[in-house]
Amino acid sequence: MTSESSRASAEPPRPVAFAPAAAEDANLYRRLVLRRQLILAALALALFASLCVDLALGPARFGLDQVIAALFTPGSVEDSLRVILWQIRMPVALMALVVGASLSIAGAQMQTILSNPLASPFTLGISAGASFGAALALAFGVTLVPALVDYAIPLNAFIMAMLTALAIHFLSMRRGVTIETIVLLGIAMVFIFNSLMALIQFFASQQAVSAVVFWTMGSLTKATWPKLGIAFAVLAVVVPLLARHGWALTAMRLGDAKAESLGVKPRALRLEVLIMVSLLAAIAVSFVGTIGFVGLVGPHIARLLLGEDQRFFLPGSALCGALMLSVGSVLSKVIIPGTIIPIGIITSLVGIPFFLFLILNHKKNAW
């Protein structure tokens, strides 16, 4: 030991430095945090603006000042305005926010736990399962919960989406819950349901096929206050549960080995989060149909703007998804006046160029 010590003292520790020492890094980090908080605030503001515009647009057009008056002092505006705004347009406009946030969070966490930039409710077959459930009801009147015939379509969609998620869950457990297993199972699910959908369309009547096709385009117009309440309740339960795992989820992006070394249990976390986000996606899809793209791109935009620290990435994904769908809702009303184009078409058509612009113009390493 003595010879060792003398060796150490003969060896003055030199810094490993790559450049002269910088100013205190904590201050740089505080500035980074502040910048991210400002970005989140800006997104929230943009979201509110988009919500107001969305409320103002429709067969009867209102001024933004009227909308804001109806929002904050409902007693001061005409009855017709109040009824149209609160009873007809508000559930649809808010549904856009809740569904957008739900799909985007679901995509964000799937990308996180699977370390795969292509993961989204679509890639894991959850949307395909939902479509199949809805198609069963639309084409053949099959109701998986006979007691609730009125809700046959969303219930069928939800049940099939959750069955898909559970199938992936339990099948992947047999193979050790690896990323590859989950992704491959998801792809298998997509193909199974696509074939079944084709089969349904082959046997169904022309009218039923149109209904199925329209459903798969996604539409917010059937939103009601009760449906909105359910979707919001699920979001309000799942988000705090995900936030509780914030540090662990961020660590998952460093790879399983690193996450484990930091005390995270990757397999258990992956299963838990898979179920939570499947629930989010299933609820969203079952009420409004398959709205693609938001679950894939919302998180990527959030990642470009805010990085992957879940304290910013999670709310950022929610806001980006909500904003995308809200703007989509606005555009779906204004592109062809008098016609509401299904929102699923809008999000893809408008979102993709914007997404490409972001990727091509951003210097930062984003995946």
């Binding site: 904590a26 980090y29 980074l32 936030a243 790879g255 690193k258």
Partner: protein, 249 residues
Amino acid sequence: MVTLTLDRLSARYGRRQILDDISTPPLHGGQVVALLGPNAAGKSTLFRRILGLLEGDGEVRITGTSSERPVAYMPQDNGATAVLTVYEAVLLARMQGRRLKVADADLKEVDKALAALGIDTLAGRDIGNLSGGQRQLVGAAQALVQSPDILLLDEPTSALDLHRQISLLSILRRLAQERNMLIIAALHDLGHALRFADQALVIESGRLVDCGPCEQVVTPQMLRRTFQVEARIEPCSQGRPQLIVEAAI
């Protein structure tokens, strides 16, 4: 002072026995222990077993610590490319299992870890844009920032240039002494082991074949038997033992 004792430790992956009956005398804080052995000898598995990531017979006894998580482990780098800055990646390692809110004290620990390893200038860089060597130092900072009593490092110098290899090992050696920390590092360079480690553990096919002060363990006989190389160990002009490898057998 922290003390680590391994008592009849074993581990298996499925039916394959990876570690078999490994026992060590008490290893005390304040020193650097080199974990030596050829490829696939079970070095990483031993680290994972000590950390509790693998089940198996035997016992890992840690005494003399009040920390809830006394052991930090730096695995070999896997090249993950999360969109995080170096500062965030190191902070993240400190915050695991804690509340979402970051305290000033945590930021101070991150500053200290980055400064100790001389990578404070990298703080704002994205980890995806770092070189292999820089990533390895970030990995070391992630382990150090947890303020561990026992630090397990899996080939911490494998991607570093010679200057940084020597620097990192000198720094680790100093930190072990300053903080009374026990550092166990899997090293492939036996010359580094001779120079920086107090003790050495040698494992071969999952069994501990030798354990003791580095100079007594790293011998031409051990090198021939475990690593299949012909080598001499001679004092250099300053009296330090020097490893001279002549040929692979």
